[in-house]
Symmetry: C2
Subunit: 251 residues, 2 copies
């Protein structure tokens, strides 16, 4: 098989309205990076079943893994589980083990296990459960599609349960060098030449402007080949020093 | 014409690797909201021309407006302008007015106008310029597609230049009520009934968990119909109060 890849599908009106600034793409990407599974695409769609279904089906055939976040709570706008079932053309119903676990959890909390809460135990047929140690209601895995909660702390915890199920690839290593005071226009030609000479290393250039006295450029090099990466690191450091800027290694 | 809609296309490896947490979707959405132009979809793609072209062409035919961010700087990984030209099947070359303005700007800064900096004056044929008062190098408008910088401060400034070009729609008003201590499972049935009874109002439920003593649910109602929205506000407030929670209005 070729190297694995992933896509992220963020589900929720609140992301598109600007109410909520997403952090799940970043945390999924950071979780997958050491496993050698790069995220290749992300889509954000509203709480509309047809839109979710279309996006799930576009992504699950194109990438090794798909991670969805959002829309698995107890309220009327939580429609992700139904949309995943529809995307796969399977039924959906209460999962007996999930019902049992949730019933016990709510009983221990002296909280009524309402019909709305039972909705969170509805799992597409054929899906595997993804544990939610934070608040009980689980996510699930349908073939290569993992459905997580939208609340970032819960999504993060669910990733831990998913990790062992993923077949990783060769890890992409990275080097990041920050050059304070550097301007992209002063390094672009030399940087382009370095990038062109090292096709096995991907090099990105990211300027920052936080005010007159605090600007610069961060250069990020990525490669599965450590030796090639170290070679590029040396060239990037030399490039910065030729311009009188001391490179600072960063994570 | 039906109500206008928008899509956002975020371009950049740094967003998919988890290096950078996007804020441009949120700021574009917040800019468009008072103009009555809801964002309906967002995609994030890497710095790969074919991926950018495919996404631009998928979105520009489906939505009234498309806003891209990222990839218009001077370095080798800045390929958005070429990708937009390819998506529209037009050529791209240095724009004489942009060259003149940038040459004057760099001369005033006593900075060399290098070939890399000249790359930022390459504009797809037929595009209109979008002013960049922050750092000079412009964005551009190609039919219904607006190409902005990725640096959030610059993207924000470019939106100001774009605003007058947009044909807005009926503004979607919103009410947000926060209920501290509320749990979604306790309100879901009644909330679903309110949502079902008011098809012209979209109601979202967003739990927060910031610790044992700081959790609750924010209810957000949106509608173009102010009277319907105020009716729903009253019902949502009454719902919270029935559970002993005092609703707090929020932006």
């Amino acid at each position: 098989m070729s190297e694995p890849s992933a896509a992220v599908l963020l589900i929720g009106d609140e992301l598109l309205s600007g109410r909520t600034r997403d952090i799940n793409l970043q945390q999924v990407a950071q979780f997958l990076e050491p496993l050698g599974i790069p995220v290749r695409e992300c889509r954000t769609v509203p709480d509309i079943e047809d839109e979710i279904v279309a996006a799930v089906n576009a992504l699950r055939t194109k990438y090794t893994y798909v991670f969805t976040t959002g829309g698995i709570g107890p309220t009327h706008d939580d429609i992700t589980a139904d949309a995943i079932a529809a995307a796969f053309g399977v039924g959906i119903s209460e999962h007996p083990e999930v019902i049992a676990e949730m019933a016990a959890r709510y009983a221990a909390m002296n909280t009524e296990f309402t019909p709305a809460r039972r909705r969170m135990a509805r799992i597409p047929h054929g899906a595997k459960i993804v544990k939610n140690p934070v608040s009980g209601a689980p996510g699930f895995q349908m073939e290569n599609v993992f459905t997580l909660a939208g609340v970032p702390q819960i999504a993060r915890a669910m990733l831990e349960d998913i990790g062992p199920r993923l077949e990783g690839g060769a890890v992409v290593h990275k080097v990041q060098l920050r050059g304070a005071g550097l301007r992209e226009g002063d390094i672009a030609e030399a940087l382009g030449a370095i990038a062109a000479a090292h096709g096995d290393v991907s090099i990105g250039s990211y300027p920052w402007y936080l005010g007159v006295g605090d600007h610069g450029v961060a250069l990020v090099a990525r490669s599965r080949d450590m030796a090639a990466l170290e070679g590029v690191r040396g060239e990037l450091e030399a490039l910065m020093r030729r311009l009188g800027v001391e490179p600072v290694a960063a994570d």
